[in-house]
Amino acid sequence: MFKDNKYKYIYKVFLSNKLSIVGALIVILFLLVGFLGPFIVPYSPETMDYSNVLSEPSIKHIFGTDEFGRDLMSRVVYGARVSITIGLIVIAISRIIGIILGIIAGYIGGVFDDVIMRFVDLFMAFPPVVIAMVIATIMGGGVKTLIIALSISMWTGVARLARGETLSIKQNEYIISTKAVGGGRFHIMWHHILPNILPPILISSTLSFGRIVLSTAGLSFIGVGVQPPIPEWGLIISNGREYIVSGEWWLVFFPGLAIMMTVMGLNLLGDGLRDIFDPKERKL
């Protein structure tokens, strides 16, 4: 009965926010394109056609072709897979590190709290691009560099959130009574704190996903991220860059539009979800 009402409430709040529905639809489209990509594109993203280079968008090639005559639409569609894969890996790594350190800082506190939070502050002082440049200097550009760099810059937000949630849950009576009947630290952190801090952290992942998509594209654009010939959105834009001053706009326009739509969808959905689960943060 009670549970039923809760879902009804969630459903109602979510549907009342039209923008978050738009966001959800965009995200679903993005995921579908990512998973079904190979089945819906008319060409392979790697097939070159030298009789058909830099051709404008047409019925045959809806997004046009690039300097090797590759179909741009196929490449942009495959790009969604690249973004999803990198996004999921970075989300997983940064959540795991952030949750573990955040719970330790919040629950055990003391010196652990001080040390962990100072490191959070330290990593926040450096923008992701600088961290990526450092890693790229050490191990060269590539998917691995990108994943490490983004995980390093994303765990800080998770740790802060996990610590804050832990601090408030720690005060609850059931935690105190668990302690009274002899529940150990690890037991409490694993069985009582973790399940309770997961929902807000999972919701924040939607917004993080958007930031990861943006950073992935940006870092690949300046050459420290994904390397050719992987069809990554930022990389496609970087290839099209030199043609923008001679008028071949589609090479830059379509992959960028894909980035913008995806990030916008994730942001709108993330805002909507946050409104449901955290009414305090609701936008005025």
Partner: protein, 339 residues
């Protein structure tokens, strides 16, 4: 916590950031594959030469001695030599830093002024057209990559319309040779100081797109924050008090309310500036801007380590300075804060 302790705590943290940055930049060269001494010498150098170079560079010393030497070199302004250009890194930074500063300070100013203005306007016109417009505008700024918007503006304003110059850096290629006389290397300022209006116009036109594009996403974030803060403040008792006592509406909004509404913006300013410094890297790449961001990106391609080390130090220094300024501003703006 009293005020002195707060300042002390902040100072300790900022020093910690600098030490962190110096450690990262120190170890970066020591973990990369390959011997730095080997890399500084031509391929035909004998092992004996390499060994001598190692001693010369102090690489035979233990790490803590090397680190101490590294720090004392930095404090004396010695950031090493760029392997690629053969020039001292500090000299390169002196030439390139003003270009990046001009870009980022103007962007921050534009983002601050327009973002706060738009935030206030949309808060007092809540749910009217201008508010919806500002929201869509903000969502765009937060979602679209700056380098993409930059390239699109080049396409429209240079290729299609021909209104603005080609993205050739800070000046037209021809003008670059004429104007060698610079004082501060911040071109707009130099042009005013030398009353060279042709130079001013050229530099201004070249700044227009990169500054606008770089400021866009920060403008969007500042607008959202100001709007939220403003709505909260406008609801409070003291604002009603002013209004019922006959203080003009405009005065209440732009002075009494804004003063408090802008506080969340100020709190975020340090973080914004850090992100802005990151954004500089992309915008400089797009507009061929000869600043430190593009210099660092190029250095990675050439595996030229000293400029990258210098870049890390400069970024940390910028972050620390801005945060200090923000802390001080915060106290000036809100005398209630007594930490």
């Amino acid at each position: 916590m009293n005020y002195h302790r707060y300042i002390l705590k902040r100072l300790i943290f900022l020093i910690f950031v600098l030490i962190g940055a110096s450690l990262i930049s120190f170890f970066i060269v020591r973990v990369v594959p390959g011997d730095p001494a080997r890399m500084m010498l031509p391929p035909q150098a004998s092992p004996k030469d390499v060994a001598r170079m190692r001693v010369e560079l102090g690489l035979d010393e233990p790490y803590y001695v090397q680190y101490f030497n590294y720090i004392s070199n930095i404090l004396q302004g010695d950031l090493g030599f760029s392997h690629h250009t053969g020039r001292p890194v500090l000299e390169e930074f002196k030439r390139k830093l003003p270009a990046s500063l001009e870009l980022s300070i103007l962007s921050l100013l534009l983002a601050g002024v327009v973002g706060i203005w738009l935030g206030v306007i949309s808060a007092i016109n809540k749910n009217k057209f201008i508010d919806h417009f500002a929201r869509v505008f903000s969502i765009g700024g937060i979602s679209a990559p700056g380098f993409w918007i930059g390239l699109l503006t080049i396409y429209f304003f240079y290729y299609r319309l021909g209104w603005l110059p080609a993205p050739s850096g800070r000046l037209d290629i021809l003008t670059e040779n004429i104007n060698q006389i610079t004082i501060t290397n911040i071109y707009l300022l130099d042009a005013v100081l030398t009353r060279n209006w042709f130079f001013f116009k050229n530099a201004f036109l070249h700044l227009l797109l990169p500054v606008t594009v770089l400021s866009y996403s920060f403008l969007a974030m500042i607008c959202r924050l100001t709007r939220g803060g403003m709505l909260e403040v406008l609801d409070s008792d003291y604002i009603n008090f002013f209004r019922t006592n006959g203080v003009k509406k405009r005065r209440v909004i732009w002075i009494y309310a804004l003063r408090n509404a802008v506080r969340p913006v100020l709190t975020m300013m340090g973080m914004f500036f850090a992100r802005l410094l990151g954004g500089v890297v992309f915008i400089e790449t797009v507009f061929n801007w000869p600043g430190i961001g593009r210099y660092a990106v190029d250095s990675i391609k050439f595996l030229d380590y000293p400029p990258i080390q210098g870049f890390i130090i400069f970024m940390a220094l910028g972050y620390v300075l801005v945060n200090l300024i923000v802390d001080l501003l915060y106290m000036v703006l809100d005398p209630r804060v007594k930490y």
